[in-house]
């Protein structure tokens, strides 16, 4: 019988945004996430109360799931951001900080909830329209003829995760590997729908990051270390068979009934005979590589090995799909029928690779294949796990560029540029917009200020060392002034803007980000293709992050009552 308990009545909170407890928690969350943002972020160590393993991270996809709050309001925001991260892999912290800043600023402005929601929605549409438009001043077209911009994009992602603890050289190495692996998964001959391949990541601890490498084909673990150093005797191509069922001698698909075995009947040996029969066929068909998803009976293994066949067992379900793609084999799951010849797969070359304690069999495809293995090395486990997360994200972001070959300027320049654009645009159209949105012009302009300040807040969040954030008054890019520099020497110490596209010159004018400046139309940089941006952000991910953050903030502003089930 199930446990019966009296249901206790729910806990209610009226007007959650006015609640001090919730405000404090929101503030804390904003401070926490803000300090994790960007390449100079402060790291966070996560450990549980029972002495489990310590994780060092600054990445939202690792950090957010471990932040648990009893407050559903916090969890609502957290869940939205996490969903975004799981779909787009990037810009999670941007979305979180922007969303929390919007909530905070809207509350502080004293605008009616419904008005700020409408204005936010309106400005979001303005921003997405601008970003998707042709004349957008903070967008860069990605050129697939050169890998330069792709590597820049990858490097921006890798360098934004300081928990990987990489040197400049290592960062570049990993970014290049990520782009190389990504390019290997894109098929060369494209006819009709293109299906991308897969990067299988293998991590090895204790080696320098620079020993990380990409292999075309697959590396499969050989735990028992049956070291055949010479494969020269193998004819080319090598025939292989792939089993998706257990070959341990169990018959699992008989049903739920009972089996009564009379004395004197040796069922096991009967099944083993059957397995050996199968082995005989494999030997006769000149198969040289025998791979099984599950366990292979030791006697069968012995038999196959004695005939010079390499046996790999327990490869697991995750590797099955890349294996079939690589070898063209069809998984076999029948024990009693002859294996059809088309079920066999082919491999061009086999070799053994040794990395530390790991012995792996390297399978190379016969023709062109979209499967590759990324072998990642790092000095210790924590950094390695963060590096693995970063590489997976980079792969995902690079894939997103195939649909939309653009990137946005990084380093806070997109945010400041967008804020300047929104200010300029909404100033000009205030009367019409206000009447459409059903609010007064003052309310509308206040809403615009809330939105723009929140965008600038994100740009400022990149700065952790007490420096000042500036904006130039022509292109509206983001500049950082170190804390120890006096204002007189500003031009000399500024160097380049956040994304590296604009250089400091005496004719430029700057203003601090939190001061009011007269609105102007930010100019796009034209011509001069020699200057390449140094920091790029994913276009698709950032656009979606902007939308998700605004929608989440709007939801949060719309919540008037909280009912908590405390059962």
């Amino acid at each position: 019988m199930s446990r019966l308990d009296k249901k206790s009545p729910s806990l209610c909170t009226d007007r959650p945004l006015d609640n001090t407890d919730i405000s404090n928690k929101l503030n804390l969350l904003r401070q926490l996430l803000k300090s994790c943002f960007g390449p100079t972020a402060r790291l966070k160590q996560v450990h549980n109360n029972i002495g489990g393993h310590v994780v060092t991270t600054s990445s939202s996809s690792v950090l957010l799931p471990v932040i648990s709050s009893s407050q559903p309001f916090i969890n609502l925001i957290k869940a939205s951001i996490l969903n975004h991260v799981s779909r787009f892999s990037d810009c999670g912290l941007f979305a979180a900080i922007f969303c929390l800043a919007l909530i905070e600023q809207a509350k502080r402005s004293g605008l009616r909830g419904n008005v700020s929601i409408r204005v936010n929605k309106h400005l979001l549409a303005l921003c997405s329209g601008y970003l998707q438009g042709e004349d957008c001043g903070c967008k860069v077209k990605l050129d697939f003829c050169s890998s330069h911009n792709l590597i820049t994009l990858a490097r921006s992602i890798v360098s934004s995760k300081p928990a990987c603890v990489l040197t400049e050289q290592e960062t570049l190495h990993i970014s290049k590997l990520a782009v190389q692996a990504f390019l290997l998964t894109v098929p060369c001959s494209s006819s009709g729908t293109v299906s991308l391949g897969k990067i299988v990541t293998v991590s090895v601890e204790g080696y320098s990051v620079l020993t990380s490498v990409v292999f075309p084909g697959l590396l499969v673990d050989m735990p028992d270390g049956l070291c055949l150093t010479k494969f020269d005797y193998l004819s080319n191509p090598i025939r292989m068979v792939l089993f998706s069922t257990s070959l341990a001698g169990d018959l699992s698909d008989l049903g739920d009934g009972m089996i009564e075995v009379h004395a004197g009947v040796d069922t096991e040996s009967q099944i083993l005979d059957q397995l050996l029969e199968l082995g005989k066929q494999v030997v006769d068909d000149e198969v040289k590589l025998f791979v099984c998803q599950k366990v292979v009976h030791p006697v069968l293994q012995q038999y196959l090995r004695s005939h010079g066949i390499i046996v790999v067992e327990r490869v697991g379900i995750t590797i099955m799909e890349p294996l079939t793609q690589l070898t063209d084999a069809q998984p076999v799951a029948t024990l009693h029928t002859k294996i059809p010849s088309k079920a066999y797969g082919k491999v061009r070359e086999l070799s053994m690779k040794q990395f530390g304690s790991k012995t792996m069999l390297h399978l190379q495809p016969l023709g062109e294949s979209v499967i590759c293995t990324l072998l990642l090395c790092h000095r210790n486990e924590t950094m390695l796990s963060e590096l693995k997360v970063v590489c997976q994200k980079t792969e995902h972001v690079l894939r997103l560029t195939l649909r939309e070959p653009s990137a946005l300027l990084g380093g806070g320049c997109t945010e400041t540029h967008l804020a300047a654009y929104v200010r300029h645009k909404s100033k000009n159209e205030a009367p019409e917009a206000a009447s459409v949105l059903g609010c007064s012009q003052t309310e509308y302009l206040l809403g615009v200020e809330v939105f723009c300040r929140s965008l600038e807040f994100v740009a400022k969040a990149l700065q952790h060392d007490g420096g000042n954030s500036l904006i130039d008054l022509t292109h509206a890019h983001h500049w950082t002034l170190p804390a120890d520099v006096l204002e007189e020497h500003m031009e000399d110490s500024l160097g380049f803007c956040g994304c590296g596209l604009v250089e400091s010159s005496p004719s430029r004018k700057w203003t601090f980000l939190d001061t009011k400046y007269t609105e102007f139309l930010p100019l796009a940089l034209v011509g001069d293709s020699r200057v390449q941006p140094r920091v790029l952000d994913s276009f698709t991910a950032k656009l979606s992050a902007l939308q998700v953050a605004t929608e989440t903030a709007n939801l949060a502003l719309d919540v008037r009552y909280i009912i908590q089930d405390v059962n």
Binding site: L4, K6, K7, P9, S10, L11, C12, T13, P72, N75, L76, A79, S80, N83, H84, F88, N114, I117, R118, G192, T245, S252, D253, L254, G255, D256, G257, M258, I259, E260, V261, H262, G264, V265, Q270, I271, E321, Q330, P331, V332, A333, T334, L335, H336, T337, P340, H396, R399, Q547, V548, T552, L555, D558, V559, R560, Y561, I563, Q564, D565, N567
Partner: protein, 635 residues
């Protein structure tokens, strides 16, 4: 923060507390309510029913009210917040009336008891009056100020004025349910969905019924995307990944079959005993049995291959051998498909699922125009069914059937089966939101919007035009009220011309923002004047006047932020048909009024609450006895 606990309150205060919660999300200025389930899952809602049910109230009367609201909204999909407002205001009016003039004709031992009796009496009369007169009154006095949009007009063309009205109606509904920001986008999407499914049959509202019943299989929630990514896609989405690699074949049409059981024969069912090596005439080993199942499976696959079948769908998880053999035969397999989806698939394709693998007839084979994986999001996650590749199916063209007929010998049979086929191009709805809570909220709102439209266009039964008959048809709750109808003290319909009895047309819509309430208020007052003038009733305040004043509480709340607008709208009630405030359905309002009055009656009929003390483990028993008191009170 406040903890919700009310040991014993009178009706008014119980409902008052509910009203206070509901008001936060009522009207154009209302907001969302966030609530967590006992599983920790967070949900957002502006739906009155969801909010009330999330409260987990303890007070028996409150629970009864919540139950009534829930029953009402599962039928009409709308009006749960107005329900509470009207209920609270009606109870207040009844109490004030009763306390002013307690029942004098009987002797009661206390003033309170006398008041309660009067209140009960008033409630009964109100209900009787509503059941008898209200539909005529609405049809005569209120409906003429609205518009009647026929379902045929709506389905006729995309940009007709009727379409515009329906979209406005939906926009108002979504505004109240989800908020202003996305109401235009979502109502457009709903209209598009209705337009795609509209010609499902000749019956006007059959499409709505179909959508209402199959909504779970038609929509796909996808979280992590902005709401504006929601869209319609052609075909049916099966929310499962292919279990075998998907072969890219382009030959048309694709033939598919549905299996309900295991393809590989299950040799032993639970309870069976297989004796191995019993020393009979033939030496049989267990290997022979397993070889036999494999052989029979091969025959089955070969049979399917000869029939040209390339897509297999199954309810249950199939064994590895089945998947491997299907792959070798270049068929793709989707297993663990939910029953809902397969039932929709069967309805759309006209193919019956196969239960006996050895008898595959042409009527089991569905023909699809395409079947392809769809990536709803950039990643393919293994544990998230909506991310898995999904296969879309199916629109059967008549000419495709001919293809099957030629290859089979069952020409007449096949023709019979398919002649009643619906000709519709199926479309699935992809609902995007930033989190699971939001997609759930949108999905609920969609479903309720369809219910609301269904109530609006529900045809009147040919025989019954009176309120009693209509409501009996739509809901069982009125069945036992007929005895009240004999009550003579209400105004008779003498002032309504019996020869010109108006009938409330389906599809009647009204400007929103309290117009219905204002109009009905005036109509009721007019009626009470003529009543008091013509006949000498034995009660001081006619029930119609009571109802009329209670109705005003709704517009009062709508305009709570600007009393000036309240007066303005009140005086303007007779003006032309405007759409500035949105539109709402008259039949939903009518159903709502009846439901509220029934709830009032059942609330007031309870005179004592007995609190029994039982040990915790018999809680379920106590709950059931609860239900019965509730039912008693209602029936």
């Amino acid at each position: 923060m406040c903890s919700f606990f009310c040991p014993f309150m009178s009706h008014g205060s119980v409902v008052g507390v509910l009203e206070a919660v509901i008001l936060r999300s009522f009207g154009p200025e209302g907001g969302q309510v966030l609530f967590t389930r006992d599983t920790g899952q967070a949900m957002l809602s502006r739906s009155g029913t969801h909010i009330l049910r999330a409260l987990h109230l303890e007070h028996p009367l409150a629970r009864m009210v919540v139950e009534c609201v829930w029953k009402h909204s599962t039928v009409t999909g709308d009006g749960s917040k107005t329900f509470i407002l009207l209920l609270a205001s009606l109870l207040r009016k009844i109490h004030t009336t009763a306390s002013r003039e307690p029942h004098v004709s009987h002797s009661y031992n206390s003033l309170e008891a006398a008041e309660a009796a009067t209140a009960r009496h008033l409630a009964d009369k109100l209900l009787a009056f509503a059941l008898k007169e209200l539909d005529d009154l609405i049809a005569m006095e209120v409906a003429p100020h609205g518009r009647c949009v026929s379902w045929e007009d709506f389905t006729a063309e995309m940009h007709s004025p009727a379409n515009h009205y329906v979209q406005k109606l939906l926009a108002s509904f979504f505004h109240m349910r989800l908020g202003y920001v996305h109401c235009a986008f979502i109502s457009e999407l709903t209209c598009e969905l209705l337009n795609h499914w509209k010609c499902i049959d000749n019956l006007p509202y059959f499409a709505l019924q179909f959508l209402k019943d199959n909504f779970p299989a038609i929509h796909t929630p996808v979280s992590g995307f902005p709401i504006t990514s929601s869209r319609l896609i052609e075909g049916q989405v099966i929310h499962r990944d292919f279990a075998t690699p998907y072969p890219q074949t382009d030959h048309q049409p694709i033939k598919a079959v549905v299996f309900t059981g295991y393809l590989q024969p299950r040799l032993l069912n639970t309870g069976d005993v297989l004796e191995v090596g019993c020393g009979g005439t033939e030496e049989r080993s267990i290997v022979d049995f397993s070889a036999w199942t494999e052989r029979s499976l091969q025959c089955l696959i070969a049979n399917l291959q000869s029939l040209g079948v390339s897509v297999l769908l199954s309810v249950v998880k199939q064994s590895a051998a089945v998947l491997a053999l299907a792959t070798q035969a270049e068929m793709c397999f989707v297993d663990c498909v939910s029953e809902d989806e397969l039932s929709l698939f069967a309805q759309l394709s006209g193919a019956t699922p196969i239960s006996d693998c050895w008898r595959i007839e042409p009527e089991h084979i569905a023909e699809l125009t395409f079947c392809r994986p769809i990536l709803l999001g950039p990643h393919r996650y293994e544990n998230m069914p909506f991310f898995s590749l999904t296969c879309k199916a199916t629109h059967l063209h008549a000419k495709n059937y001919l293809g099957t007929i030629h290859t089979s010998h069952l020409q007449t049979l096949v023709a019979d089966v398919f002649i009643i086929r619906v000709k519709v191009k199926p479309y699935s709805l992809i609902i995007c939101g930033s989190g699971e809570g939001q997609t759930d909220q949108y999905a609920c709102a969609f479903q309720d919007a369809i219910r609301m439209l269904f109530t609006t266009w529900e045809p009147i039964p040919a025989t019954g035009t009176t309120a009693a008959k209509r409501t009996v048809q739509s809901d069982k709750r009125t069945s036992s009220y007929t005895h009240v109808l004999t009550d003579s003290s209400t105004c008779t319909s003498s002032n309504l011309n019996p020869l010109h009895k108006c009938v409330l047309q389906p599809g009647c819509i009204m400007p929103a923002g309290g117009t219905f309430e204002f109009l009905l208020h005036h109509a009721l007052l007019k009626l009470s004047h003529s009543c008091s003038a013509s006949n000498d009733t034995n009660i001081g305040v006619p029930v119609s006047r009571l109802l009329a004043s209670a109705l005003l509480s709704v517009p009062k709340q709508i305009y709570s932020h600007s009393p000036g607008q309240f007066l303005q709208t009140r005086t303007r009630h007779n003006a032309i048909f405007t759409q500035d405030m949105g539109l709402e359905s008259v039949s939903c309002k009518y159903e709502l009024l009846l439901a509220v009055l029934q709830c009032v009656t059942s609330l007031l009929r309870v005179d004592t609450i007995l609190r029994t003390h039982t040990a915790l483990h018999t809680q379920s028993l106590a709950d059931t006895s609860w239900e019965s008191t509730e039912d008693e009170a209602e029936n």
